[in-house]
């Protein structure tokens, strides 16, 4: 189910030769092929899309901009906010690194290994996506909270933040790398082996470079999701200022205090990061498309 949520998978995957017949050149050239009915449909869709997404997001930018640069500085210079930003970015970075390594390993195991229960593992990977985030927090609390059967009490610590982020971002790298690994042609590896390459060399020179765009895409998505996470942290992190308070919680506190301007300023920074991720992904996708 994850491919839909993360999106990069079908793009990072090299286009299959027979799956998509190359569009004949004449498809690409006409600028506008809308029929009257389609034009009407597009109009209605755009009105809804504007009301739902474009206007509200512009309102965030407008509210953030209305205070000028001064407010940006005052919001970001606030010690508590700055602590939230560094904590969020730091933990998101750590979790993304963990995902890059573990996610690739899991994808490898799912594609190249055969063992009893593999299918189950494959399904469980999707659980963090399907689970409501508040439930995710509750779930983690049961093993890493006050009543932990393991005796690990991580609730309300920085570890809890990392844990929650790792939980909700688990599927991203796995699900972007998995399809690419599946379509990696065995004969390329065999060719390399026949040319005398060792396993290590094949891994380093053949497999990892082909996986790199997918890993990058998965990592970007995972990072974007991690810095914007809210629901799973509510119960687990305790939202302690300077210790476990993340940016989303900070934004919510501003909203609850009626300080929409500061909320918007901080939110616009998060929006900017989201935008950067989308652009970065687009570039990765286009590069892969050109290569494929």
């Amino acid at each position: 189910m994850t491919s839909a949520l993360i999106g990069a998978s079908e793009v990072a995957r090299p286009a299959s030769p027979e799956g998509r017949r190359p569009r004949r050149f004449r498809r690409s050239t006409p600028r506008n092929t809308l029929t009257r009915g389609a034009g009407l449909g597009l109009g209605i869709a755009m009105i809804w899309f504007s009301l739902l997404v474009l206007i509200p997001l512009s309102a965030v930018i407008a509210a953030a901009g209305s205070g000028g640069w001064d407010r940006y500085f005052s919001v970001l210079r606030n010690d508590q906010t700055w602590a939230a930003v560094t904590l969020t970015v730091g933990q998101a970075g750590i979790v993304t690194l963990v995902n890059i390594v573990i996610g690739t390993v899991i994808a490898w195991v799912l594609v190249r290994d055969q063992f009893w229960g593999k299918r189950l593992l494959d399904v469980i990977i999707d659980v963090p996506f399907a689970l409501p985030t508040i439930v995710a927090g509750l779930v983690l609390l049961s093993l890493y909270g006050p009543n932990s059967p393991l005796g690990i009490h991580w609730a309300f610590t920085e570890n809890a933040v990392a844990l929650a982020l790792a939980f909700v971002t688990l599927p991203f790298v796995v699900r972007t790398v998995q399809p690419v690994l599946e379509e990696l042609e065995a004969d390329v590896e065999e060719a390399a082996a026949s040319l005398g390459a060792s396993r290590g060399t094949i891994l380093r020179r053949i497999i990892l470079p082909s996986l790199a765009p997918a890993i990058a895409a998965g990592a970007a998505l995972s990072f974007a999701r991690a810095i914007s996470e809210y629901g799973s942290l509510v119960l687990l992190s305790g939202n302690r200022p300077f210790e476990t308070e993340v940016v989303s919680v900070r934004v919510l506190t501003f909203i609850e205090n009626g300080n929409n301007g500061s909320a918007a300023a901080l939110a616009s920074v998060m929006l900017f990061v989201a935008l950067v991720v989308i652009v970065a992904l687009d570039i990765v996708q286009r590069r892969v498309a050109r290569r494929g």
Partner: protein
């Protein structure tokens, strides 16, 4: 005339797909649009069908101006290279589609579908899904589907292009026989000259968006309008200052005939029943094709000195300077 194409031009950006094309296709005939890939023949067919529109020019089908008519109202049947079968419907449902759209009575639809499946030899497959058919069977089904609505003209876009050589050959003969039975005006696009020569009553050669020549297979083969048509319809070699077909060259192992060109056989290759000989002459290499028997009579081996002349009645065109 059944289909009248007048001054049709079509551009895709800077690319001119059709450049002021005018063609008249007679009623009841089987016409081939022949030419190399990207030459504009498929575009012309799609414009006739209404699946693409021309930038300028008019299309007239059976006396009605169809230039502005949408595809639904042109009364044409269209068969696609990749079959375009409705994957989620059975064979019978596929064939019935056009009739059901037209809200024909149920029993009439059933009867007509049975007739058509009979015609294309697919009766026993009527309840299968297209995915259970071979490529050739799918294309026959697509043909039945197009014929079901009794189109005024039947258009086929590279109908056998995606099939392997043997099935192609079978379907080609079958299409010819089907046309003789059904007699609907048929136009098909192909880049395979053998296919066009074998099946069509008339051939329109299209290249780089222009009509190079229109004629019967014999006319095209025997009286090619230019170098391109000659080259496209079969192998060509150059002997002296004319271009002609390799099997239209007479080979002698003794000098004698006036104007014969002297050369040495440098390569003798047996391909099935024929022998292909490369002869080095002062004007360059010439390819000659002989029957095996003939080659054996001449005792032709590599190194043999030969004298070449154009056979009497051979089709020739003057060679272009740079060739």
């Amino acid at each position: 005339m059944s289909i009248e194409v007048t001054n049709v031009t079509k551009k895709f950006g800077d690319f001119v797909a059709l450049d002021d094309v005018s063609v008249s296709l007679p009623t009841g005939q089987l016409t081939a649009l022949l030419g190399p890939s990207g030459g504009g023949k498929s575009t012309l067919l799609r414009i006739i069908a209404g699946l693409d529109s021309a930038d300028s020019g008019t299309i007239n089908i059976e006396g009605t101006d169809a230039t502005r008519l949408p595809a639904q109202k042109r009364g044409v049947g269209f068969v696609f290279q990749h079959y375009a079968v409705f994957k989620h419907m059975t064979v019978a449902k596929n064939v019935a589609f056009g009739l059901e759209i037209r809200k024909r009575p149920k029993d009439e639809v059933k009867r007509r579908v049975e007739e058509l499946l009979e015609l294309v030899h697919l009766s026993q497959f009527s309840h299968r899904l297209p995915s259970q058919l071979s490529g050739g069977q799918r294309q026959r089904m697509a043909l039945a589907r197009a014929l079901a609505v009794e189109p005024k003209v039947l258009l086929l876009d590279e109908p056998f292009g995606a099939l392997d050589a043997k099935v192609r050959k079978e379907l080609r003969d079958w299409l010819r026989r089907l046309h003789d039975e059904v007699h609907v005006t048929t136009v098909f696009v192909t880049h395979d000259q053998e296919e066009a020569l074998e099946v069509a009553d008339e051939i329109v050669v299209i290249n780089e968006g222009r009509v190079e020549q229109i004629g019967t297979p014999d006319q095209l083969y025997d009286e090619p309008a230019n170098d391109f048509v000659m080259g496209f319809l079969g192998e060509v070699t150059q002997l002296g200052d004319v271009r002609l077909r390799p099997h239209d060259i007479e080979v002698a192992v003794t000098p004698g005939l006036a104007g014969a060109i002297e050369g040495t056989a440098t390569r003798v290759l047996r391909v099935g029943f024929e022998v292909r000989v490369t002869v080095a002459t002062s004007g360059g290499d010439v390819t000659v094709v002989l029957t095996r028997t003939h080659a054996r009579q001449l005792e032709l081996v590599e190194g043999t000195k030969v004298w070449l002349t154009a056979a009497s009645g051979a089709t020739t065109v003057p060679a272009m300077v740079a060739v």
